[in-house]
Structure formats: structure tokens, C-alpha cells
């Protein structure tokens, strides 16, 4: 099984971090993983995106041209990546910001009001982690436990962050059915 995921948003929304967490968790789970950031002049426009592949097989091209999964943190992300999606793909949008409507019938859309949930948690910065929680609920890319482990390893120096993130992660998961 191979999952090809694109995560996209404005610079500053923590898009790269959740991509790396996903790849890291996949690695901890023993999967083959790759993480590929967009780089260069795209930065200027203020958008950021990354491609994450989680697979049981050797990963060839770390770029993703036909995402099965898209995490869209803003409108331009939908604009750019929806047309590229694989049939039967899954799009998860941040409905706190994204108001664009689905245009492709062969793609499943999910939404979670990540910024609102994060605001409720009194931690606006965790909107990206909320998305992650929702994502893993919808698509079993990896086991949620692996992601919790990833938190623990990644933020070993800042234990307070681990708790906040776990909470956001769970709220995200709870926000989708």
C-alpha cells in the first residue's frame, strides 16, 4: 500500500511541520516514507506545500503528481491541487478559512474548522495538529499511536508542547465522524 499526500497552505500555518510529523511517524512505524517540501520562488507568493509518501514499497519519485490525499489549509491550495487529485481521493479542508466549494465529483471532501477548534483550545498555533488528527481519522495512513510517539520524540526537549499537541490531535480526530 502507498499513500501519496499533499499538505498545503499559507506560509506560517505549520504545513511543513505536520508533513514532517507524518513522515516521521510513518518511519517509526517501520514504513518507507519520504517528505518533499516545495522550495524556492514559490515561497515568495506566500504559499507552502509538501508531499509526503508513506508506503510499504521502495519510494521512487518523492514528488507527488496525483495526490490521493490533500490537506488544504487555505483556498489557493484547493485551487491548485484539486484538479490534480486522483479519482476517489480525499480532500480535507480547514473550513475556518477555506470557503471554496468542491468542483470534482470523484473526490471525497471533508472539512474541519481547525482554527476555531484551536482557538477553543486557547492555542491558535495548533490548527495544523487539529487537521492531522482529523486526517488520521479519515484516512488510516498510519496508526494514531505512531503520531503520538512522534510527538514525544520530536518534542522531547519541550514536554509541555507534547500535551498541547496530543489534545489538539484528539480534538481534530473527534471533529470528524
Amino acid at each position: 500500500m502507498t499513500y501519496e499526500v499533499v499538505i498545503s497552505g499559507f506560509g506560517g500555518q505549520g504545513v511543513m511541520i505536520i508533513g514532517q510529523l507524518l513522515a516521521y511517524a510513518g518511519m517509526l512505524e517501520g514504513k518507507k516514507v519520504s517528505f518533499m517540501p516545495s522550495y524556492g520562488p514559490e515561497m515568495r507568493g506566500g504559499t507552502a506545500n509538501c508531499a509526503v509518501i508513506i508506503s510499504d514499497e521502495v519510494i521512487g519519485n518523492p514528488l507527488v503528481s496525483t495526490p490521493q490525499v490533500l490537506v488544504a489549509m487555505n483556498n489557493p491550495s484547493i485551487e491548485k491541487f484539486e484538479p490534480m487529485m486522483a479519482s476517489n481521493g480525499v480532500v480535507l479542508t480547514n473550513t475556518s478559512i477555506v470557503d471554496r466549494l468542491q468542483t470534482r465529483a470523484d473526490v471525497k471532501f471533508f472539512g474541519v474548522a481547525a482554527n476555531d477548534i484551536a482557538a477553543d483550545l486557547k492555542n491558535a498555533k495548533t490548527a495544523n495538529i487539529v487537521m492531522l488528527g482529523a486526517l488520521l481519522k479519515i484516512v488510516p495512513l498510519i496508526k494514531p499511536e505512531s503520531l503520538i510517539l512522534a510527538f514525544e520524540k520530536k518534542f522531547v526537549a519541550k514536554p509541555e508542547v507534547i500535551g498541547i499537541n496530543k489534545k489538539a490531535f484528539e480534538c481534530g480526530a473527534a471533529a470528524v465522524k
Binding site: 514532517q20 513522515a23 516521521y24 518511519m27 518507507k32 516514507v33 519520504s34 517528505f35 518533499m36 517540501p37 522550495y39 524556492g40 520562488p41 514499497e57 521502495v58 519510494i59 521512487g60 519519485n61 518523492p62 514528488l63 503528481s65 496525483t66
Partner: protein
Amino acid sequence: MAEKVLMKGNEAIAEAAVIAGCRHYFGYPITPQTEITEYMARRMPKVNGVFVQSESEVAAINMVYGAAGAGARVMTSSSSPGISLKQEGISYIAAAQLPAVIVNIMRGGPGLGTIQASQADYFQATKGGGHGDYRLLVLAPNSVQEMIDLTIEAFDLADKYRTPIMILGDGAIGQMMEPAVLPEPVERNVDKSKWATTTRAKRTSGGPNVINSLFLQAEDLEKYNVVLQEKFATIANNEVRFDSYLTDDADIVVVGYGIMSRIAHGAIDKLRAKGLRVGLLRPITLWPFPYMAIQNLIPTAKKFLVAEMSAGQMIEDVMLAVVNRRPVYLCGKMGGVIPTVDQMIKEIIRVSEAV
């Protein structure tokens, strides 16, 4: 065994250099290799090393010349246009027989081009982008793990042969993160006081230690060139590296390096599942090129497909090996475009159906 870490290819090269005992880095920012420079800026001060952001790629390669001549393990890195600027300096380093590691994380060209990944500097790296008769030993990693392993090896090879080594990567491997294991720091203690400029007080040779590539008399330079060529012949004999994947019974052998070899690997797995006998020959050293390994496949292979992100450069070396005994096809991508596994599958099928 050490734990797996998730690392960017560029940072893996940088950390591997530190592990190999490199304490001198001179470089200039350029996408998509800037992470090497930035990593060294952070890391070198922590290990009492030297990081200098040079004023240009030209200055960087000449600082490398100075530091290598002074006996240090030293590295520089850049990407395509910056590597073009280093050609004079590289020729000097090869001529003066200095050990140094030069990294090229290739981007799309020619000219300013794009910052996306490419493999169009193959000729420059393997045939000599600089003037005069010299060769670079060119290592082409195809994973973050290999970036680490080959970087460490590059420093050893540089010292062993007193010659510049090039690590030829592409923007994709440079930018991607994947799991890898970092080995323990190596201790080499190569004694260079016999030839390196270490001062009258410290040198262990008789006369002054002089780093030089000037010869007033052509006859003297010819003799010196003979010595250089003998060294290159030794390297060509000893240091060929390659990897084969399912080539034994392959009707079609894909030849590809770097990121292209991975895409081919993915394609081959899918095609094998469909019953197509396809294999992969992956050169790890681009110079010396594994001519022999390819020749050995001629009896069993029916066709060769060279997969490279260029208009067709390595294909000349494959053709030199195959010498018209089997058809050789090109799957080329230019300008920074990376093919998908599916595109590669289509190419392979096209080749399999060609008559």
C-alpha cells in the same frame, strides 16, 4: 546500531562531512543546495570547525584549494551555475593533486534555468568541465542514506588518491527527507605533512612543501600528466561502483542513477508484477563508469533504456559500453522535470514494444 533519523538529503551530506572529520567548509548559497551551507553555518562552530560564506563560488573553490593544500579535509557545495563557475578551480585542484570534496546538487539548466531537480551536468562532471586532462571521481547517491555513506567515502577516496571527488546529486534527493542512519564519527589521521603547506617548522619533508600546477617546459608538464593519468587509470581500475536490480534475466535493462534510479525501481516492481522482465543497472560512480557491468549484460539483455533527467548525456557512456550490439533508448526529461513512475512505465513499455 544507531537510531534512524528523518533527514533532508542536503543536511545528510553536511552532517556526514562532519562525521568524516571535515572541519572546513567554504560555500555560497544557491538553491537547491543552500541547506548544506546553512547547516554548516550552524554546525561548524559547535565542533570547532570553520565555516566561511565565501563571496562567490569562484572564491569558495579557491579557498578549498588553499585549505586542501594546507592539509585539511575540506568541502564545498553548490548547484549547476555555481559549479560552472568553479571549473577553473577544479582543474587547478586536480592538477595540484589536492584531496577535496565538491558537491553539486543539480538544478535545471542551461543558464539560470530553474531551481528544480535535474541531471544535466553529467558531461560536465564526468568528462571534465574544466580545461586540460583530468577526471573527477564522481559519486551519485540515490537516497539520503547513500548521501551519508558516499560523502564519508568521498573524503577517504580524496585522501587516498589525492584528488578531488564530486558528489553529484539532484535537487530531489537534496531536498527530500527520508529515514537514514548516521554512523559514528570516523578517525582517520591522515598525515599530510610531507606535502601539504604546514610551515617550515611543521613539515616533515626535506624541501619546501609547494602546491603548484605550473610547468614552464611542456616536456615537464607532459611527464607530470603521465603521472596524473596513471593515477586516473588506477582509480578507473579500482573504484567502479554500481548496483544491479533484477538484471540477471532482464530483457530490458534500465540504466539510471540518482533519483531516476528510484523511479525506475518503482516502475520495474510494477512491471515485474505484470510479467515484464525488466531490470536496473545503477551506476554509483559515474566516473569511472561501469562499462564492464553493462557489457556483461549484453548476452542476456535485449534492450537498454537510459533514464536520465537530461537531453541524453550518460547515454553516450552506455553506448560506448554497448557498442551497437543492442539497441539503446533514452528516457530523458529536461529542464527540471522529474518523471512519475507511471511515465517511466510507459517509456519502458514503449521500449519493450519497439522493433
